[in-house]
């Protein structure tokens, strides 16, 4: 993968933000510095970063995929009603992945699991 200024800026944007951003949000945050960048370029760079494992892509229920820097494995529980996001340490998921990998001779690459459901507050409140 070639290092172009656009891809470096996208990576640094994601590194500093440490949050889940959609392609459109990344595109918007990029415009001030790189006014001439095309949306398709942003989509393609993100696709490449995902493919090389530097960035995770996930559907967090927001209607569009979000991207996050992949330097610390973690996972989430997302409430379908209030959209609260709980973060799970990798330790909570890793044992299952290990056992699946051994049982099925399969190497799992999913690095940012998102599970949906209803949180405690929504269950009791409503």
């Amino acid at each position: 993968m070639k290092k172009t200024s656009t891809s470096l800026q996208i990576l640094s944007l994601l590194e500093n933000c440490h949050c889940h951003l959609s392609a459109a949000e990344i595109y918007e945050q990029l415009r001030p510095q790189l006014p001439a960048v095309a949306p398709s370029t942003v989509y393609r760079i993100l696709e490449r970063l995902v493919h090389t494992g530097q960035v995770s892509i996930s559907d967090m229920g927001g209607g569009t995929e979000v991207y996050e820097i992949a330097n610390q494995r973690h996972h989430h529980l997302v409430c379908e009603r209030c959209h609260t996001v709980l973060t799970l340490s990798d330790a909570e998921i890793q044992p299952l992945f290990e056992s699946l990998q051994q049982r099925h001779s399969f190497v799992i690459s999913t690095n940012h699991l998102v599970l949906f459901g209803i949180c405690e507050k929504c269950r009791s409140g409503s």
Copy 2:
């Protein structure tokens, strides 16, 4: 939810097929019987069936979401290289879900988990 002939046919299509179909595939299989149906109607019916839990929606890596009748909980491992799909019984996943639910007071609704990775054949072969 009203019972319209289109929604009944989509449901029966998914029940008989027992496989993962994209919205476009469903639309195509529907046309012979319902030539006048609009694509947007198919998308909206599928959205409703997913919302009521009768159908699962998942990204299986094929570039577009696929739908499946949700009458038997199960999950999958999908090879990112050869696109082989392994099926996991719910029993392999349920214990993790239980423990997450208790630990985080969260009721998980995800009913068709898809994990990506590399299968044994691709790992040894290539």
